[in-house]
Symmetry: D2
Subunit: 342 residues, 4 copies
Amino acid sequence: MQKRSFASDNNAGIHPQVLEAISQVNQGHALAYGNDDYTKSVLEKFQKLFRRPIKAHFVFNGTSANVLGLSAITKPHHAIFCAETAHIQVDECGAPEMFTGCKLVDIPTVNGKLTVELIRPHLKGVGDQHHVQPRVISIAQSTELGTVYTRAEIKALADFAHENDMYLHMDGARIANAVALIGKPLRTFTQDVGVDILSFGGTKNGILAGEAVLFLNPKLAKDFLFVRKQGMQLASKMRFIAVQFDALLTKNLWIENATHANRMAKLLEKEIKSKTKIKITQPVDANAVFAIVPKTLIAKLQKKTFFYVWNDHTLEVRWMCSFDTVASDIHEFVKLIQDYSK
Amino acid sequence: MQKRSFASDNNAGIHPQVLEAISQVNQGHALAYGNDDYTKSVLEKFQKLFRRPIKAHFVFNGTSANVLGLSAITKPHHAIFCAETAHIQVDECGAPEMFTGCKLVDIPTVNGKLTVELIRPHLKGVGDQHHVQPRVISIAQSTELGTVYTRAEIKALADFAHENDMYLHMDGARIANAVALIGKPLRTFTQDVGVDILSFGGTKNGILAGEAVLFLNPKLAKDFLFVRKQGMQLASKMRFIAVQFDALLTKNLWIENATHANRMAKLLEKEIKSKTKIKITQPVDANAVFAIVPKTLIAKLQKKTFFYVWNDHTLEVRWMCSFDTVASDIHEFVKLIQDYSK
Amino acid sequence: MQKRSFASDNNAGIHPQVLEAISQVNQGHALAYGNDDYTKSVLEKFQKLFRRPIKAHFVFNGTSANVLGLSAITKPHHAIFCAETAHIQVDECGAPEMFTGCKLVDIPTVNGKLTVELIRPHLKGVGDQHHVQPRVISIAQSTELGTVYTRAEIKALADFAHENDMYLHMDGARIANAVALIGKPLRTFTQDVGVDILSFGGTKNGILAGEAVLFLNPKLAKDFLFVRKQGMQLASKMRFIAVQFDALLTKNLWIENATHANRMAKLLEKEIKSKTKIKITQPVDANAVFAIVPKTLIAKLQKKTFFYVWNDHTLEVRWMCSFDTVASDIHEFVKLIQDYSK
Amino acid sequence: MQKRSFASDNNAGIHPQVLEAISQVNQGHALAYGNDDYTKSVLEKFQKLFRRPIKAHFVFNGTSANVLGLSAITKPHHAIFCAETAHIQVDECGAPEMFTGCKLVDIPTVNGKLTVELIRPHLKGVGDQHHVQPRVISIAQSTELGTVYTRAEIKALADFAHENDMYLHMDGARIANAVALIGKPLRTFTQDVGVDILSFGGTKNGILAGEAVLFLNPKLAKDFLFVRKQGMQLASKMRFIAVQFDALLTKNLWIENATHANRMAKLLEKEIKSKTKIKITQPVDANAVFAIVPKTLIAKLQKKTFFYVWNDHTLEVRWMCSFDTVASDIHEFVKLIQDYSK
């Protein structure tokens, strides 16, 4: 195992409280496939985050949380609108198209965030048999560029979606980081403003593996048990997925982890800005810092520690902080940049 | 958490050595998606089980191991032959059809085991554009009925498959139980006799979650990285899947666990036969005992401990033993039967 | 072009009145894709065959009529029950599985006809996430074995389907032959007794190409325009599909053609029975005659005229009559049998 | 039926020679599904258009010719590059995604024509399991904007495709119009320069219904019979599809029809330019004229004759000529424009 890097929050390991919780439920037998009482009790804990009824289901990972959630609300002749930078568009190897049959309509954005104005020109051919039919707007919160939608921005998208017979889907692989930034309860910028389905991320926030698909509009979950099983995402030893979320939800560990990661990203931004000439390219809302870095400097840094070059043409790189990033990681990294920049 | 039951080997928890191993690798960061050196090293350990080169990849669960393995070797116009009782036919909610597009041709058997004679009449319409084209024979080892194919039986199926331009796929969700029974190395009844792809089970043999798809015919793995990702089965924190298999493969824990479970099933069979009038219906090769039980007795027993009625019409039930079953579980259970049968 | 044979009713050509009708509408331009008034007027003619509102749409062929109709009422986790001999099971190269994602549950029958009793044992696992969910019973009228369901038989299946939250789908590639036999209006044994979707065949009854999907339960047609287009079955010069059905529906040409074909089959049956020792194996309800024929006789006959051996093991053959079969075709054929049997 | 319009070449009817040819083969019975000698003979006529071996297969329409051709050379994790205006991207209701599972990468162009320079930036993530893998470049000849690729432009794309382990697919719904413009044999700008698959259009060039999928790289046709049948595009009375192409290929009717349509488009362009102030927006290479027309004028014209507004924002309209357009149609239409523009 290497040391901590800024490559991705999914390079981090398991939060000690999560691992301890797994150990605690490793007693005797439990009914498989989520039919045990313990799993049911954890699923109900998600309800407490919302005012109105929801339905929650576990899957193994983020791609399936997104794809199966989308699958539950689409037919193959539908269109799904997303940002050009969306994980479902770029990083899921075509799983959304393959599994739903739908066309993804990817829309360029400045900062990873869709707006009604950006989507509207693509809302065409409605009712015309030759064209895929608009059905879903899918946004990420926080976005793949580390930005965070405001409550008002989400409400505008949800209202627009619903006025046009569409649903609003939220990829919340890093939903905790958005809660941490906004500082208001999750429901205020999701169910309360009209988000229909939320992929509630766990893996990038300190657990071993697992995501929850939250149907904030619960009637959309009607067939989801079958969609999940046919989607090959039904865990047999479900209690061990459930317990990880139990640990996250206990004493707000999920928000605590994300708050820390966000704070580290802010520290990294501050140190970069004050001690180097490197240009930060995106608002540091959540736990990511995007920056333009000279090619030779990238090469030198990557010999010491791995991170991703986001754009080969512009030399924009991405540095992610995670629940286990510590201040000294940042100071060492910025020191490295300083040394290599001399 | 309830006590140990005979419901299923996937009702058991995590073997202590597996959990300890997870804890051991929970240090620092590691590259995600299987790009870390540790995961690579564990994948290479599977190679030691075979003489000729293989390719190994991890997925989350048994359904996906089967479906994605099949997907790697089929086109949608192909047919997959399997036993009427096969997990892929009965228990995967149509995932094989949905994901591969293929038709499953399910064939009745006496004991869950396919033979060339059973398959041959279904090998028709070859080259005729109206009909799905034979491509795969899929068998389970051990079978869903707790029986185990002999090396010779597997060789006959593999030869028949290859003579007819088909592949032999093996669902090894309980492959360790077969090794434990046969008492010969895994390769002797898989790669050595022509099995092309093996789903190497972990979950039912004491791990938290994870299966390995072993391409014993490695050229069939050509596109599998993409099939797996598009199949939504790429774990980001892959080291934690890998480490569970590392624990299993260390000092033959996988075989030890299975040997124990098989031995417990034999004990259960012996006790049932000697102390009750219940009829055992299948050879107890692996870790399952099938039996016909009177309806009223089933009801009484299920009030105390859960198990599955396999066939509502014949009142055949299934009792599974697992790595953590202990002799007293069996004695208590048989005592219960005796008491309730008075 | 060879002479008329008994190979299949789709070996016949175009009825002269149909060809003449095509010629008649070949004037000037017409809006494509069914948006022309003429096509709309023909679709409305189907309405006259029924009491309650229906929706009718054209496609190119029988496979697509079946598959797209089924696609309109299923999700990939559904099961479709059909006879083991069903065209959708045997002769569509897995198109139903590929396009709908569903599992086909094929059920052995004596004469190609499903019954409630045959289906009931397969109605299991309802509500259980591991199993495909019953959704459709699909029957052929007339069947692939030349038999015809009675009104009562269809009603029993429709009632059973609806009681179990399923639909009844009818493959009517040879629906006209059933009307001709039953001698009552089409609606009496379809919409009136609960058939939900009917593939209304044209190709096998004297047209160049085309089938109509009739949603007898019109609300099921909601998305069908998109299903058809995405299913690659939207004809651009639609008026030429429409006109063929116009010709068929004019002065009951469709029933007249089928009545003739049925009569020819009855004549063939009578001649075979009275003049040869060949055993007829199925009731001759519609336009097919099934018979067991000695291998050497098959070989001799096929040198003169082609027909299909239905079952290589039993040497059951199929002889189909069509709208253009004439009595002398039959007399010559039976004479040939007599000569070769000496 | 309405008079001739400039709405689309698929609003035209059947060329008299094609209808006559259909009538000629309407004699006796013929083996179905393309197994008749006549169909085989027509398929062989396509070979004469090329130097090296090809494989030809008929389907019903243009969407299926494209989608099934693409399906023959892709797996679901592949990417297909096409122009933003491509028929497969815009007008096929997501059939390519649904049937192939692939992602379509649509690329903006000036005139409907892709170039290596336009595609190159999208050729990324090769070998990376997270991303769809480049597999096909699909171009239309002539394009949806009425422009025609030169031989050199096609060669550049083919070379680029092959250097990058991709295929070049050509949507030739209007291939005859390209031949008519270029004035060289079809092979010179297709097989000779590396086109792998060509959808050879018939419907828009004077036939009732039918397209041919030409595998100019014949080894790619390996499974196509099954792909076509499972794709629901196997015509039973195939001789009637074949005969239409026989008529087209006889005495170069296909080129003659297209030459006429192109000439009419040139005349329309000339008349518009010389007699009105309307701006033509695209080079008139083939049989389409694109122009910007004032909103009020569009409304007046459409009361008399239908045509499509291509772009609601720019008020660009499309006028198509067809094999049956006559000079007086154009003079009347331009006169109408002149009158309404006063």
